[in-house]
């Protein structure tokens, strides 16, 4: 017993001492990446979690993709063309592309993919964006023609989505797509251990330039403070960060590079206009007027973020002073409440997910303090993500602090909320003819300037109706060691450019 104790003692001491000089990192050519949340599944068409996209976009590719300025650029399609009235889209596919299992990519795979997405039984996440597709022609293996029921300009950018990734027709037929990742992308999935680790290896036969690393090892580190520690310890090369508090610690760190990309996702206070007293326009407007959006950013996100209107894609943004009540105006807020007969205030129940996004609870707390100034008592209900999503989908809330995903095109971004037929239109809590009408015009209009004007009007109108109070966009963060080169942050948060990354240790 005693001898054992002694041996164990020595072993422990040795381990302690061994740990102190720092853990040597082997100099392999594999990129080690850390992130807090793991993918929730491998089926590219049904996954909706951002965390899943970040994995699947390395494995699967869509027909087109978006560059850092949100321009549509070629991926599996080399070129494309709308006919004059935007009712037919023809795409020319890249030649010589193979799936990871070795099978050839051709127009049959594209047709099978979109038929699967359009099949209601698939429950594809992006189905609503492709409903104008009436039929798909494949005149030859490298040409695909989408015949549309009506003009649909946003279709093109809707194609640039993980949820519109091309899968092989065999995998779709056999059902293997649900469990096996077989794409055309730069990386091949070797192993996925949920909540722990994902191993990807470079696709030697990828059509593009690269990848220049041998593979990517994705580690799930649930706590971002630990990710930060790992970056500093040099045990990881690259990391995705969500928490602005953690990101601010890296701003002045000379050894770690922090990438900030303007994001499309927006933080918003959703009001449920189907509940009293939020069904009164003036009440919603009063809430909007009482909130200093910059103060929310300064406190909840430590100043990391920008005040935003409803549309986050840069090409469609308008100056915030054109929007209703973007300057805090307590007098106006009070008089609006008075007009609504609610001068004494009321109690507002706000739901927030407890860690998603990391700033949600802090945002709710600051709003609580601000709304108290006009006599509105905010009760915060902090919910676990799954419960939050349940309630959110059922529109079972007075108000919700949410971070919703953005899209480069305003129509694809908001059709689900602000049209009569949008599948999340109950969650939006408000709809009127003007909104529906503006969205319909925006979808059909082909002239970019006219579209911009339509959506500028949309933003002015919707902020005045104040169904939601748009707050801010937080930057998308990635952090990396200085020797990692070639990564281009993308507003869609896409990691696709990891294919171009090199390790120059």
């Amino acid at each position: 017993m005693k001898r054992h104790a002694r041996i164990i003692c020595i072993l422990l001491l040795a381990a302690l001492i061994g740990a102190l000089p720092g853990l040597a990192q082997d100099e392999s050519n594999t990129l080690i990446m850390a992130r807090a949340a793991d993918a929730t599944g491998l089926d590219p068409h049904t996954q909706t979690a951002f965390a899943s996209f970040r994995l699947l976009e390395l494995i699967y590719e869509p027909l087109v993709t978006l560059d850092a300025d949100l321009n549509v650029v070629p991926a599996l399609a080399e070129s494309w063309e709308f006919n004059d009235d935007a009712t037919q889209l023809t795409l020319n596919l890249r030649d010589g592309v193979t799936f990871h299992d070795g099978s050839e990519f051709d127009s049959g795979d594209v047709k099978a993919t979109f038929e699967r997405i359009l099949d209601e039984a698939t429950a594809a996440a992006s189905r609503a964006n492709f409903l104008t597709i009436e039929s798909i022609d494949t005149p030859d293996p490298l040409t695909v023609v989408f015949n549309l029921s009506q003009a649909d300009v946003p279709l093109l950018s809707a194609l640039a989505s993980v949820n519109a990734s091309i899968a092989s027709s065999e995998a779709i037929e056999s059902g293997a797509i649900a469990t096996e990742a077989n794409g055309t992308g730069p990386f091949i999935l070797d192993e996925w251990v949920p909540e722990e680790q994902t191993t990807l290896s470079a696709n030697e036969n990828w059509w593009g330039e690269g990848p220049f690393v041998d593979g990517i090892e994705v580690r799930i580190i649930p706590d971002e403070t630990s990710i930060l520690a790992a970056l500093r310890a040099g045990t990881i090369d690259f990391a995705l960060l969500n928490d602005p508090l953690v990101a601010t610690l890296l701003v002045d760190d000379p050894d770690i590079i922090l990438n900030r990309a303007p994001a499309l996702a927006y933080n918003v206070l959703q009001l449920n206009g189907r509940r009293e007293p939020l069904d009164i326009l003036e009440v919603r407007q009063a809430i909007s007027c009482a909130i200093d959006r910059q103060e929310v950013i300064d406190t909840a996100a430590l100043g990391e973020g920008e005040v935003t209107g409803p549309l986050t894609p840069p090409a469609f943004q308008i100056p915030t002073d054109e929007l209703f009540c973007y300057q805090k105006d307590l007098d106006m807020a009070r008089s609006l409440l008075e007009q609504a007969g609610m001068a004494d205030g009321f109690t507002l129940n706000v739901i927030a997910a407890n860690a998603e996004p990391p700033t949600a609870l802090a945002t709710a707390q600051n709003i609580q303090a601000q709304l108290a100034e006009i006599g509105i008592t905010v009760e915060i209900e902090s919910l676990e993500l799954s419960v939050y999503v349940d309630r959110w989908l059922a529109a079972d809330f007075d108000a919700a602090v949410a971070q919703n995903g953005g899209r480069p095109d305003p129509y694809t971004m908001y059709a689900r909320y602000w049209t009569e037929t949008g599948n999340l239109n109950t969650v939006a809590g408000y709809i009127d003819d003007t909104l529906d009408d503006l969205m319909a015009q925006g979808r059909a209009e082909t002239d970019p300037e006219a579209r911009y004007e339509i959506f500028a009007e949309f933003q002015r109108y919707i902020t005045e109706m104040a169904p939601w109070v748009w707050l801010y966009v937080s930057p998308e963060y990635t952090a990396q060691q200085p020797y990692v080169t070639g990564f281009v942050p993308n507003p869609t948060d896409s990691l696709y450019s990891l294919a171009q990354v090199q390790l120059e240790r």
Binding site: T225, D243, L245, L249, D298, T299, A362, Q368, I380, E384
Partner: protein, 293 residues
């Protein structure tokens, strides 16, 4: 397995608990800490804090400790000292509520089971074993998930965890006491069972229970903090020491006072109940009397 039989505690007249406790070093320090903690908690409960604990002063956010803000401010510019006081009140409520519930339920189950004996005893104790077979935190996690996070469900969760412990603590002395002469004698006199239980059996279980209560309070504090740390206990904006620590994690590097003060508060709180428990045990348990000076 041999069951240790403890002699029934006799009331010592003329020597109150407090003076005896004050002659005990652990007891004195523990009592002082607990009293301080109770006072702070009381002030917190009544809202007598340097500043309103929820007041946000955005221009004063993340200020280090100063004359104006004794313990600094957080990202909203809320006063940490005031929030610690409110936190004391909240964790105190959870701790007292949960331990009171567990003590009542546990004592009731334990004494009844021990007194009635037989199959009834067996059944109740097996049920308690079921709860024992699950680690405390896991059990508490489950209960909180079922009830939804919040102050009361946290208190309930901790009560569920501690009820079986109190049941065991209460049962053991009952087993030994109920066969003793004075009990059999009163039974022979035809007194109602409930009255025998209340008048003669229960007082003898008091000593171990009091010690256990004090220790359980320290554990309840820790568990509440742990649950809050995992995001399942007290819900923001309400302050609890666990919540404050959990909130501080991301920015402790920037603002260490956000971690230091709640950390010290938790430790002192737990320490106080522990020392008090030790002191009480020394004073109430004759076998150990005189060992600690």
């Amino acid at each position: 397995m041999p069951v240790k039989i403890e002699p029934p505690v006799e009331r010592r007249r003329g020597q109150g608990l407090l003076p005896r406790l004050l002659r005990n070093r652990s007891g004195t320090v523990g009592l002082a800490l607990v009293t301080f903690y109770l006072l702070v908690g009381l002030f917190g409960l009544l809202g007598i804090t340097p500043r309103p604990s929820l007041e946000q002063v955005p221009r004063d956010r993340l200020k280090p400790p100063s004359e104006q803000y004794w313990m600094g401010t957080d990202i909203f510019g809320r006063d940490i000292a005031s929030r610690l006081m409110e936190g004391a009140a909240n964790s105190l409520q959870v701790a007292l509520l949960s331990v009171a519930t567990a003590t009542l339920a546990g004592t009731l189950i334990g004494t009844t089971a021990g007194y009635v004996g037989g199959r009834f005893d067996n059944l109740l104790m097996r049920v308690m074993d079921v709860f024992f077979a699950l680690p405390a935190l896991l059990l508490a996690l489950l209960v909180v998930t079922v009830l939804g996070p919040g102050l009361y469900s946290t208190a309930f969760a901790i009560a569920v965890v501690y009820t079986p412990i109190f049941a065991r603590v209460a049962r053991a002395p009952v087993l030994s006491v109920k066969e003793m002469e004075f009990v059999t004698a009163t039974r022979a006199l035809g007194l109602p069972e409930a009255r025998i239980l209340a008048r003669h059996v229960l007082p003898n279980t008091l000593a171990p229970l009091i010690v256990q209560v004090s220790l359980a309070l320290s554990w309840a504090l820790l568990t509440e903090a742990g649950l809050s740390f995992l995001g399942l206990g007290t819900q923001p904006p309400q302050a609890s020491w666990g919540v404050m620590l959990s909130e501080s994690r991301g920015i402790a590097e920037l603002a260490p006072w956000l971690m230091i003060f709640p950390g010290v508060a938790i430790m002192l709180g737990v320490l106080g109940w522990n020392l008090l428990g030790d002191g009480l045990r020394d004073v109430l348990d004759p076998r150990l009397r005189g060992r600690e000076s």
